[in-house]
């Protein structure tokens, strides 16, 4: 830097004050750096640190207590030879895909309906949203009850005369995952709807007008114009739903405890069972490392696209 040269060459009269020195880089925006310290610590110590800790311990034979006696890939061998794990990931895949699709579709359709200048929009919106305020424990309890063959919907319908009516997803191995889905959707679609509604509201009115002038039917305007425009909204919703799916645990425990016969196992429950039920921390950590790995594989490209690609102009 030619600070001094420049100042000396400067024709400015009365430039008596000696030129200031450029401040140190590290201390620029010091307040900002201090203020984000909690976030930085959380990101590094908790998320990176604890994740690392977990990954490291997944290579040990830790049982009840974390111990550093490494056994290589044994825990992973065991993991991938456990039928329950396969059931769990298969369930997660089915549940994940279905709940993604249905959440997005239902959320969007509800939002689109509400966006049609509906009377009492506030009331409907609140109705669709309130389940989100309830915990999964509560959701699980209520739906477990509604889906109970004797007490719930099946029982009531049979009492009405259709004695052959069968609706007992929680007691049917093939249907149990859909039973979970019903409850999960009930709880989660409200928020998706809210996000979609906000997204729809942000669409320029003139686009709608243009489509009407072009003679595009409403449904086609949605599918061909509006939905493609709402990509960022869908991404946000997707992230929210997906982060919930990976972690789905409470609901399963509250509704089925993995049953019947392990048919509704999910990875998070596998982890919990391994860590606390089986007191085999290493196995639990191995399973959670696998979960983490899949999350990272899915997320990194997305994060790159979302945050690497565009910067604030």
């Amino acid at each position: 830097m030619a600070v001094t040269d420049q100042a000396a060459a400067s024709p400015v009269r009365g430039a008596s004050a000696a030129p200031l020195r450029r401040p140190m880089r590290l201390f620029r925006n010091l307040s900002a750096k201090i203020a984000t310290l909690p976030m930085i610590l959380t990101a590094t110590v908790i998320f990176v640190g604890c994740t690392g800790w977990t990954v490291v311990h997944s290579f040990t034979s830790s049982r009840l207590l974390p111990r550093l006696d490494f056994v290589g890939l044994d825990q992973y061998d065991r993991l991938w030879s456990t039928p329950k794990w396969y059931v769990a990931i298969q369930n997660l895949a089915v549940f994940g895909v279905l709940s993604l699709i249905f959440s997005l579709v239902i959320g969007f359709v509800l939002a689109a309906l509400l966006d049609r200048k509906v009377r009492g929009e506030d009331v409907f919106r609140t109705i669709f949203l309130y389940p989100f305020a309830l915990s999964f424990v509560v959701t699980g309890l209520v739906w477990q009850w509604l889906l109970n063959p004797e007490l719930g919907i099946q029982g009531v319908v049979r009492d009405l005369g259709w004695t052959s009516f069968t609706f007992d997803p929680l007691y049917n191995r093939d249907l149990v995952i859909y039973g979970l889905l019903i409850a999960a959707l009930w709880q989660g679609t409200g928020l998706v709807m809210c996000i979609m509604l906000a997204g729809l509201r942000s669409v320029d009115d003139e686009i709608w007008k243009a489509a009407r002038v072009d003679g595009i039917p409403t449904w086609k305007t949605y599918t061909h114009v509006i939905i493609p425009m709402m990509r960022p909204v869908f991404v946000t919703a997707l992230v929210l739903i997906a982060s919930g799916i990976v972690k789905v645990y409470d609901l399963v425990v509250a509704m089925t405890q993995g049953g019947p016969g392990g048919a509704s196992e999910v990875p998070a429950k596998y982890v919990m069972d391994a860590m606390f039920g089986a007191q085999n921390l290493g196995q639990g950590f191995a399973a959670s490392t696998m979960m983490l790995l899949s999350v990272v594989i899915i997320l990194i490209p997305w994060a790159y696209l979302e945050f690497g690609g565009r910067r604030r102009g």
Binding site: R63, L64, L65, P83, G261, A263, D273, A278
Partner: protein, 387 residues
């Protein structure tokens, strides 16, 4: 001193029983801080373990004794109770001695057993059979023979809750009863995979497959809901531990008259001697340590043993107390105990890891059409890899 006790005894009878200990404890001038977590051990265990790991442990906690606490002992996290045990002569009074063995690690004693629970019971509703004009079965085979008629009457022959530990427990009961003590010990105690794959257990799996059919139609989750099916006559029988009789008692039913209990399924009258025990995390405060030892001693005192076990419906850990108020079934149990026809509890022989695997296997077996042979093969695998 405020004495915090963690446990998962929250149901009516259980809470009642805990209250007895608490009363006795408060009578000594200490304060009982209750740390109840409902659910089961799976909910409570992470809490207890993290409390201990976090360096702010409770003063005492309930555990199924057995191998669950081994590592904590190794890590030096638990209080050594050997001096209390010697002072009180636990070696002499605890019956069966295997209970104390389960608390012993490398010669030192780390837990105070409090009761004996046994799994090996089948509970039958007499009125169901009376209505059908059948004699109440006295063993497993008779039960199976009459099952078709029970089914024809629109009732479920065998009630079974959906949780995995229930089917696994029932399976284990059948194994003891049908395969016999030696084969059972070979598999569960010595982890002998050959026996596990052998003919004795083949029979057990076939019986289990039959029982699976008999239990179709019991759409309940909790064990006591299943028990309730037996009580109301919706189902004829249930295989469940002795805690079930608390439910019968609460429903006002009388053992021997309204319901029948068959230890060891009426085949092999053996009972396992599992149970609950209290452990004490090591703490720096000598005052706390003293209180912990005082608490441990109190647990095995005859008064607490009687009042607690009567409330809980379990058997006392000392053979020298008199349970005058015991009912028909408890008496049967006490008798078997007195004869020494006991086997250790699965929790003492198997690591939780293995138990979990067995739970998963049996519950899957129970809920699907898995063939007995397949199930047995996987069973043998698990036993082979157990330690």
């Amino acid at each position: 001193i405020d004495f915090e006790v963690s446990h998962w005894w929250t149901s009516g009878g259980e809470a009642n029983a805990v209250a007895k200990i608490a009363e006795a404890w408060e009578a000594t001038g200490n304060t009982w801080v209750d740390g109840a977590i409902a659910g089961s051990g799976d909910t409570a265990r992470p809490i207890m373990i993290s409390r201990i790991l976090g360096g702010d442990p409770m003063d005492a906690f309930q555990f199924n004794h057995g191998r669950q606490a081994e590592e904590m002992i190794q890590a030096g996290l638990l209080l050594d109770l050997t001096d209390v045990a010697e002072e009180q002569g636990w070696r002499d009074i605890v019956n069966p001695p295997s209970l104390l063995d389960a608390c012993t690690y490398e010669g030192r004693i780390y837990c105070a057993p409090i009761n004996i629970h046994s799994w090996q019971w089948m509970w039958l509703n007499n009125s169901v059979y009376e209505e059908l004009g059948l004699p109440v079965p006295t063993n497993w085979d008779e039960f199976v023979d009459t099952a078709d008629e029970v089914r024809a009457a629109g009732k479920v022959p065998l009630a079974m809750g959906g949780q995995s530990w229930q089917s696994q427990g029932a399976f284990s009961v059948m194994a003891v009863a049908l395969a016999g003590r030696d084969a059972w010990m070979a598999v569960y105690g010595d982890k002998n995979a050959e026996v596990a794959a052998g003919p004795e257990f083949a029979r057990v799996f076939e019986a289990a497959a039959a029982a699976r059919e008999l239990s179709r139609g019991s759409n309940v989750q909790d064990w006591n809901q299943a028990t309730n099916m037996v009580i109301t006559g919706e189902a004829a029988a249930q295989i469940m531990g002795d805690w079930a009789q608390g439910e019968f008692a609460m429903a006002g039913m009388v053992a021997g008259e309204d319901y029948t209990c068959l230890p060891g399924l009426g085949v092999n009258a053996l009972i396992s001697t599992g149970g609950d025990a209290f452990y004490f995390p090591r703490q720096d405060d000598p005052e706390v340590t003293a209180a912990q030892k005082q608490f441990a001693a109190m647990l095995l005192s005859p008064e607490v043993q009687v009042s607690f076990n009567l409330a809980k419906g379990s058997l006392p850990v000392r053979g020298d107390v008199d349970l005058a108020a015991a009912n028909d079934c408890m008496r049967k149990g006490l008798e078997i105990l007195a004869q020494g026809n006991t086997i250790p509890d699965g929790n003492m022989l198997l690591t939780p890891d293995t138990t979990q695997q067995l739970n998963d296997l049996i519950s899957e077996f129970w809920a699907t059409d898995m063939s007995a042979a397949d199930a047995q093969a996987r069973f043998a695998e698990i036993i082979a890899s157990a330690d």
